[in-house]
């Protein structure tokens, strides 16, 4: 359950953190009901500002992936993977569209894109 942050990357640290947490859940290393470390302890371990971790946790809460429960902290939503709601589906489509468009513009064809998607999917299932 390792988190790796690249400090010299263009991607903001809080986004890197959210992405890695989501990936850990996708890889089944974190499951619904698991408690994430407190904002203070994760920020101390990474040596980053507490606001950074806080921002990332709130982003995950907005996406419905975690719940911030008073006293017990950030808990992974037990209902994840129970089927996607209309609202979340729309957001995923919105976010995926420009990336697929970019791939087409840069020269990937439909087959390439599908292949890439399935290789990413099988990689997530493997571990």
């Amino acid at each position: 359950m390792l988190i790796q942050i690249e400090t010299s990357s263009d991607i903001p640290i809080y986004t890197q953190l959210s992405n890695q947490l989501i990936e850990l859940i996708a890889r089944d290393q974190l499951k619904g009901g698991d408690v994430l470390p407190s904002v203070r302890s994760l920020a101390s371990d990474l040596g980053v500002n507490m606001h950074t971790v806080n921002k990332s946790y709130h982003e995950l809460e907005r996406k419905g992936i975690i719940r911030i429960v008073p006293k017990s902290g950030a808990v992974i939503n037990p209902s994840i993977r129970d089927g996607i709601s209309q609202e979340h589906r729309l957001r995923i489509v919105e976010e995926l569209k420009p990336i697929i468009a970019e791939a087409i513009v840069l020269g990937m064809n439909a087959e390439d894109i599908q292949q890439l998607a399935s290789s990413i999917l099988s990689d997530m299932k493997e571990e």
């Binding site: 690249e6 010299s8 974190l30 994760l42 920020a43 101390s44 371990d45 040596g47 500002n49």
Partner: protein
């Protein structure tokens, strides 16, 4: 008596100070972060050897001169103590100068050779680290305070039996040489100081427990094992120190109440025993654990990751000694040059807490 105390302490300081470069992680040389690939460069090992050899040789020459000087003359106790202290400070000053010199040299070496330029700096955290943390629970540090409370009650019950003059200072042979008027404050001032020390140790444990567990990108597994071991052993060391100080202060308080245990040799042996146990335990801790647990042997297998390095936080280490990082919520961090914890000066809670504790101790001893 004071000569032998100084000889033991001096020998201890010299040995420990000259051993420091070899107790440290290979990745931090004289306070400068060095990427894994360059840890074994010849220049770096020659710096370390030169540092150790200089301190060892100068230190032991000073020790011999001091010994011969004190043996062959009739000197007053004060002169022996003064010279001993002067040599102690001299050696520590020499260490400091040598450290700063090699800190500058290593910084220059790293800059001219552009070490770590092509590497991606990454920070690593394990979400499960804190679940594996085995530092002593902080309530353990509250337990010795029960002994202090018991002694307070006992002193109160014996108050009428106490002598009119309460000893406040003892000479090197354990005989009282300064006294103050008996008041309810002077009768328990020693116990008040003990309480402040116990509170300080409790606070340090609470704060170090909340500090971050920082992993090294190229050695994720072994650095975690070492970090956890360092935390565990440093909290044990802190607890042991607290208990030992409690025993010493408790003993002195009983002597104050009972008016000496009669036996002069025993009175002199107790502080000496305290000093030797403390020195031995410190040495065992430093050599067994090393900086951030670097001397703990780990047999974990590592995946090779050579394109990343851990984040170079040299910018937060002023002169390679003082850590000032407002972003890091840790109040204590692993020491950069030595074994143990350093304060994060970017976070006022730590140093204000320590300043207040020391001020309290000074105030109590001043008003006796």
């Amino acid at each position: 008596m004071s000569l032998s105390i100084f000889l033991i302490t001096l020998a201890f300081i010299i040995l420990l100070q000259s051993a420091i470069p070899f107790l440290l992680k290979g990745s931090i040389v004289f306070g400068v972060t060095i990427p894994e690939q360059h840890m074994k460069e010849r220049a770096i090992s020659s710096y370390k050897r030169f540092y150790s050899a200089t301190i060892l040789i100068t230190g032991f020459l000073a020790l011999i001169v001091y010994f011969l000087w004190a043996k062959n003359r009739t000197l007053s106790e004060d002169q022996v103590v003064f010279a001993g202290l002067a040599i102690q400070f001299g050696i520590l000053f020499l260490c400091m100068i040598m450290y700063l010199y090699f800190h500058a040299k290593t910084t220059k070496l790293k800059r001219t050779h552009k070490w770590g330029a092509g590497l991606k700096p990454v920070r690593i955290a394990d979400l499960a680290s804190h679940a594996k943390d085995e530092m002593l629970p902080s309530y353990m540090f509250a337990l010795p305070a029960l002994i202090t409370a018991g002694l307070l009650v006992y002193t109160a019950s014996q108050y009428s039996q106490l002598p009119a003059m309460i000893p406040t200072h003892w000479d090197i042979d354990g005989q009282p040489d300064a006294f103050s008027q008996k008041t309810s404050f002077s009768a328990i001032s020693l116990l008040l100081i003990l309480l402040v020390i116990q509170g300080m140790m409790f606070g340090i444990n609470v704060m170090t427990k909340r500090s971050g567990i920082k992993l090294t990108s190229a050695k994720k597994k072994s650095s975690q094992v070492q970090q956890l071991a360092f935390r565990k052993y440093s909290s044990w060391f802190l607890f042991f120190t607290t208990v030992l100080i409690t025993i010493l202060f408790g003993f002195i308080q009983l002597v104050i109440i009972q008016g000496g245990m009669g036996n002069a040799a025993f009175m002199a042996a107790v502080p000496l025993g305290f000093l030797s146990i403390m020195l031995i335990v410190t040495a065992v801790y430093a050599f067994k654990v090393g900086q951030g647990g670097s001397r703990i042997q780990v047999t974990a297998e590592e995946e090779e990751t050579m394109d990343t390095t851990f984040v170079d936080d040299d910018q937060y280490w002023k002169a390679g000694i003082f850590y000032v990082n407002k972003n890091d919520p840790s109040i204590f961090v692993e020491k950069r040059f030595g074994v143990g914890w350093a304060i994060n000066f970017g976070n006022p809670i730590g140093y204000i807490f320590l300043l207040v504790s020391i001020l309290l101790i000074l105030l109590i001893s001043f008003f006796i």
